[in-house]
Amino acid sequence: MNNIQQKTKELLESGACTLIIGYEKGTGGKARPVFVRKAEHAAKLIFDESCDQNIAGYLYRQEIKNESKKAIVANNHTLKSIVELASENQIHEGDFMVLAFTAEGEIIELKSFEEIEKHVATLYHGLNDEDKATMQKIEAMTMEERWGFWENEFSKCIKCYACRASCPMCYCPTCTVEINQPQWIPVPSHTLGNLEWHVMRAMHLAGRCITCGQCAKSCPLDLPIHLLTYKVALDSEQYFDSVAGTSVCANNVLATFKTEDHENFIR
């Protein structure tokens, strides 16, 4: 029995926890989120490289909020999202336990937001090589090529909103797409409406995207929409020195300002 199963079994047996949010093996061997309530089911839990899904979004789900003693098995993406959600007051210290892993794979319990912050500080925050290369490829294109690239991508979007549903930072009870007076985002999934949706989604994630790429991983059509939020994340870092998911007391990039913010385009 590996240490995640042992640890969670102990937690459930002792009554320290009544619910574990973690990963199990799903269809065709891919990992998926699982909710374990009984010690005898702890053997379902896994934690390996396949568990790269960001599951922080479950922490504020109403059904789960009501559970008093819960623990979450957190990968690095999930940890960063926890920090960012905490900075936005969506989740609260002491409401849940966090089980994380050291670089050596040892299971550790992070007992406070401060400890999570410290752990997150040891992690890598940039983009992976593949995404970096794609970003550079797009930025090297001419304006017309970039428009063509995204027009083609947006034409494929079926507006299932899996990107929104799977993003831990998309927690608004009423999303802009659900506002119909006026109808900001067209309901039909035509290219213009899809473009407006993805621009809006990226803007709403400015300074908040922790660059986990869950949106693109969730997209059934494989649209590289994570690059849009990565773009705003990179700009937020460059202009405002803000990296989402690193500080519980961080101010939101677009909800704050500095008088010395510097731009070169306003006449």
Partner: protein, 155 residues
Amino acid sequence: METNNNNSFEPKVVAFVCNWCTYAGADLTGTSRIKYAPNVKIIRFPCTGRIDYMLLMKAFANGADGIIVSGCHPNDCHYTSGNFHARRRWMIFRNLCDFIGMDMNRVVFSWVSAAEGAKWAEIVNTTVDTIRQLGPATSFQKLIKNSVFEEVGNE
């Protein structure tokens, strides 16, 4: 896109301006009898902080060839900080639009105070000139045209 009698292109420019500075500035342009291009349609907002980026997207979708966004100079905001917030938003938005291939030469951002009637005329004139050179904005219009009919079942 509009055409005049000579059938040449007349740019349609939408200006999103704040009530306290640029709108008053534009008023001063008029009372000072300074002539400027008539291609601009001014939409008044309480503050630049209220100018949602979605409005810019909607302007292009509804046929604007160019856009001006203008408000109080930094530290002059009627509500103290609306323009500082707006500035951050534009910094992010402008780069994002550029990243998806929108022509950011068509969007002009400026600070025009209530005393800068001449500056307003200059901003409008240069913007209209730029748009005249760039030609009609077609990328959004093409999207609309192709939009509903891109399905495999639709011809």
